[in-house]
């Protein structure tokens, strides 16, 4: 049973610690993930800019890289959403269908595939969760305030289960941070303002560690936190769990993954 680790391009280059935490967290949960070295990117930057045609070679490269795995796991809901939702523009071969169906966000994988909804360990800090739109509204990993007042989701549940961790109650639980891919450059003014407002909400409500499941949003928010020299640390949730979880963790390493069979 093979699990392929997909470490999105910007994480690979700028946040290796997030990739490392993802790898080690999976290991602690009993999953020995493999990192195919020829991987690059899912193609989202081009496609969201309107250049889906230019992205197609990247899609093919992604599928070729990961077709041999039973699961593909990435610490980024946005990239996963892109593979699942937007790889519909290339020919739907068995390999393409298989990769689209078996690519999972890390916390979706932990929750729904591994069946782990609580994580042991200790992290005695007030943590503010930034819900990333593609994970939340795209992959339905968390409730949406557009639909229900109940604030609940995969990541908030996992975080709440960690000993000593307090979750910040935000004024706006699921407003977009304003990263938006190339939006952060083309619409710089609005993008920055949106990020500043998100950070402010966390600051007002006592967040010490700002976290989330998507490093792209966190890269943008971290850029604002550091520019303003705010008393707040930014960590991907995989880093928190990896730091909190004792090693080894026999209580949760019971996973035997089953392959997903592509529908023909």
């Amino acid at each position: 049973m093979k699990v392929g680790l997909f470490i999105p391009c910007y994480i690979d280059q700028f946040y290796p610690q997030v990739g490392i935490a993802t790898y080690q967290l999976l290991e602690k949960l009993g999953v020995q993930a493999d990192f195919p070295r020829q991987q690059t990117c899912c193609g989202q930057p081009m496609a969201n800019t309107g250049c889906e045609q230019d992205a197609k070679p990247v899609y093919h490269h992604f599928v070729d890289t990961f077709a041999g795995y039973d699961y593909v796991v990435a610490p980024s809901g946005s990239c996963v959403y892109h593979v699942r939702k937007h790889y519909d523009v290339v020919e739907q071969t068995g390999a393409v269908q298989h990769v689209r169906q078996s690519t999972f966000d890390l916390f979706d994988f932990i929750t729904t595939v591994l069946g782990v909804t609580e994580l042991p360990g200790r992290f005695p800090h007030q943590v503010g969760l930034h819900l990333s739109c593609h994970g939340q509204r795209g992959l339905h990993q968390a409730n949406e305030s557009e639909m229900t007042p109940v604030r609940d989701g995969q990541l908030s549940r996992l975080l709440r289960s960690v000993d000593g961790l307090t979750l910040t109650e935000l004024n706006r639980n699921d407003e977009c941070c304003g990263f938006g891919g190339t939006f952060c450059i083309t619409e710089e003014a609005v993008s920055a303002r949106m990020g500043q407002d998100r950070v402010q909400d966390h600051l007002l409500n006592g967040t010490e560690v700002l976290t989330g499941g998507d490093m792209s949003c966190l890269m943008h928010l971290e850029g604002i936190v550091r520019r303003r020299q705010l008393p707040m640390r930014v960590m991907h949730a995989a880093e928190i769990f990896n730091a909190a979880l004792p090693q080894p963790s026999p209580s949760v390493s019971t996973f035997v993954p089953q392959p997903i069979v592509a529908e023909s």
Binding site: Y15, T49, H61, E146, C176, G180, C184, E187, E188
Partner: protein
Amino acid sequence: MSHPQRAAAFTSDAERTTWHDETLWFVRQKRDKAVYAIPEFQQLRQLASDIKEHTLSRLDEYLEQFEQNARANGVQVHWAADAAEHNRIVLDIMRGVGATSLVKSKSMLTEECHLNPFLIKNGIAVVDTDLGERIVQLREEAPSHLVLPAIHLKKEDVGETFHVHLGTPKGEKDPQNLTEAARQHLREKFLIGQVAITGVNFAVAETGAVVVCTNEGNADLGVNLAQVHIACMGMEKLIPRTADLGVFTRLLARSATGQPVTTYTSHFAKPAEGRAMHIVIVDNGRTRQLGRPDFRNSLKCIRCGACMNTCPVYRRSGGHSYDFTVPGPIGAILSPNIDMRQHSTLPFASTLCGSCTDVCPVKIDIHAQLYKWRQIIAQEGELPASKKLGMKLLSTVLAHPGIYRFGGKIAREGLRLLPHGLTHAAAFNPWAKARELPEPPKQSFRDWYAEQVVKL
């Protein structure tokens, strides 16, 4: 000017941006409360979407049925292919009865057709009677929101406008007093209005009646005092039956303002004794949109404005930054159909967060259509050259692992070695205007993996 330029101008007033954002977020929260209170709300959305889907699938039949029934009621029905024809029809009706004064309740269609300037140029006195519309009319501005046309203005701005145009005391900003001044002013206009124009929220095919939803009662007052009523509607306003109406009235006000229903839901079926009623049905690009499979369901829109209130970009850039009659996310998918070149930056004025789609009461997949318009705009060559070239380059890098690895290393090394002042120069790097770049690590993840894991 592009959307980013106009948005940057808006956000440069940070305090006003905060106020605008919070004002509209307040409306979004009112909407949420109203929605949470209705257990079947999501089913209602689906039902409304399905009714519209059905109606659009046989729009020609329903239009003819509607026309036939309206004529049988004694209403004169006119067809306009575009804005110019619509405006000419209205002017001809007015000239036909020798009218020179017009009172108009809220109608985004007449805004879309730029009716006011056309009529004024032809010697007609036009008064918008919706309070917000009247405020922006006095200021010679366009509405900045579908439902809240003057939402970009503070009470101080309104006070100043009324001081100049209605003679209220300088510095008067009490909403009660300002509203009373507007009431007195509009009352005079209502009394001399010879013709009344209303918009149309819903047109019922089986009865030939039109339904107008307002909170101020100005549509009713205008119509009941004038000799002639002209109802102007886009051809997508149809619903098949009166029985379908309740689905939409339950959704409309809750989505728009969080009210259970608008204060007035007025049904106009036929002219009163001795008076005349006209309906002008306008295409103006709607048939073209209907013919675009990816975008046709944008015609389901009931103009509630919920997508604007929820849009984090709209709330921080203001309605005027869209420079289109319908602003916000829905405007960004309707406008390229009208003029792709002029509005080419609008589908990019979004993070694709998807909140617009989730509040839409008729389930238009707005963010998915924004994504699709981007593809078309790029294919039609409307992207800036730098973006186009950059994306081609990026694609080459990302399809070739060797180049990617090399490029990544160069970028990290460059960031580490070059002075901060250079890597963060706002002139080359818009990111760095308000944000730090990530601190470049010595090692990429793949380098770590190669060292740590493969060796084991």
